[in-house]
């Protein structure tokens, strides 16, 4: 496991002995890790490695069977206003336009400022005046709108599940640029992805998972591939 240069700084997220069972299937088997503010963490692994379950646990959507998760000193539910979550499905209403979706979800966080929604839509390279429903967007546009939804509450911790899937290379790179800007604002970003190459040179750490456990943490993608 790579030594962490931020060892003296208090971690923003601490996970201890995290176990998650779905019936008899163990999706997470004793995950223990610490993560620090202002970094991009790429979570990698084969299908069924436990990446999405780990992300859902961090988002407070999956309750640990055993173990604890502390984010900013509280449980995920206690600090949910500081978390942004982008799932593999879009979490958007298909019958409403992007702006209508953001307006509604914004209200859940007490955001009534239309400008915030417009800024976010522009930040993901979409047009706020687009009136057609999300159901008629291309897959890439949906992904970008989904990212905008996750950013609505200006979260300190951003949890992204497969943000680059079904997105063309250019849009993928634009999303990575956006994530880099967000990191400079001090946000901690977790990206579950199968397109790790997009984050090569950008992510601060690559977290490799297998069979519900973190098997290694590397500084570079190449280092992790060599270890495999």
């Amino acid at each position: 496991m790579a030594a962490n240069s931020s060892a003296q700084i208090a971690p923003i997220i601490s996970i201890a002995g995290l176990i998650k069972h779905f019936g008899r299937f163990a999706a997470l088997r004793g995950v223990a890790a610490e993560f620090f503010a202002g970094k991009i963490y790429a979570i990698l692994g084969d299908n069924g490695a436990g990446k999405t379950t780990l992300l859902r646990s961090l988002a407070g959507l999956a309750q640990p069977t055993r173990g604890t998760i502390k984010i900013l000193g509280g449980t995920p539910r206690q600090v949910c206003a500081e978390l942004g979550y982008m799932a593999h499905p879009t979490l958007l209403y298909e019958e409403m336009s992007g702006m209508e979706n953001l307006r509604y979800f914004g209200k859940l966080y007490g955001i009534t400022d239309e400008k915030r929604c417009e800024e976010l839509i522009r930040a993901v390279k979409l047009e706020p005046t687009l009136t057609r429903p999300v159901g008629q967007y291309s897959q890439g546009m949906r992904q970008r709108m989904s990212l905008a939804r996750a950013l609505l509450n200006n979260p300190k911790v951003l949890l992204l599940d497969e943000p680059f899937s079904n997105v063309d290379m250019r849009s993928g790179r634009e999303m990575v640029e956006l994530l880099t800007r967000l990191r400079t604002e001090g946000k901690t970003i977790f990206v579950v992805t199968h397109q790790a190459s997009l984050l090569d040179g950008t992510a601060d750490e690559f977290i490799w998972m297998d069979s519900g456990q973190i098997v290694t943490r590397t500084r570079t993608l190449a280092e992790g591939i060599t270890n495999e």
Partner: protein, 225 residues
């Protein structure tokens, strides 16, 4: 964070907008209720006097079955794209969502009742002999009894494999006291034979108990995996 009332209003407006665009629930409910009215009218062919005695039961059976269609739709649209997770990760209070859904369903069923009432009058040759304001109050209480439990049990059966079957299995038995109140109260008002006050009080008490129970349990149901 927004006030719970603000979140409730936003969710209600969103649900009404989605229904206005898709018309998933209202079309199915109307068609279903219309079929029940027509089939019953051909099956029984009652006289005006007999109609007044059986109409209470027929009306509420039609509304109950039709309401189940809307209640199933309420949460089904939250499952598409896992939109419900968007609410679950937010700091919004769960009960704001529950009340918005219940009020939304109340509006859908009330619209159905307003559209179907003239048809019942025509097909069953009905006229109110008792108090009309009492009938309105009874209908409002009966409708709330259906939707508050229906909204709660629809949320409970959301993650079950056969949720469309599960909802009536859970809802109908628990609604029996309310259905007795609705049917007897409506019959009492239509015939003018008995006072309906007892049934109105019964429904009000039923609503108080089950609304409180639903509000207490809904946060657990929402965050269940």
């Amino acid at each position: 964070m927004s006030k719970p009332s603000g979140i409730m209003r936003a969710t209600l407006v969103k649900d009404l907008r989605l229904e206005w665009r898709s018309k998933d629930a209202i079309n199915a409910m109307l068609f279903f209720a219309l079929l029940v009215v027509v089939i019953f009218s051909f099956s029984f062919d009652p006289t005006a006097e007999e109609s007044r005695h059986i109409a209470g039961g027929l009306i509420w059976v039609a509304f109950l079955f039709a309401a189940v269609v809307a209640l199933n739709q309420t949460w089904a649209r939250e499952l598409r794209n896992q939109v419900l997770d968007g609410f679950r990760v937010s700091p919004a209070p769960p009960n704001a969502l529950f009340l918005a859904k219940a009020f939304g369903n109340f509006i859908f069923v009330a619209v159905l009742e307003m559209l179907m009432a003239p048809l019942f009058v025509i097909f069953y040759n009905l006229r109110v002999i008792g108090s009309f304001p009492q009938l309105l109050l009874l209908v409002a209480l009966g409708t709330w009894a259906l939707v508050v439990n229906g909204t709660f049990f629809a949320a409970m059966s959301l993650r079950t494999r056969s949720r469309e079957i599960m909802l009536p299995l859970l809802l109908f038995p628990i609604s029996i006291p309310a259905i007795i109140g609705m049917v007897n109260g409506t019959t009492a008002i239509l015939t003018g034979d008995d006072p309906a006050l007892f049934w109105i009080v019964l429904l009000a008490t039923y609503n108080l108990v089950f609304t409180t129970g639903s509000l207490l349990l809904f946060p657990t149901v929402l965050h269940a995996e």
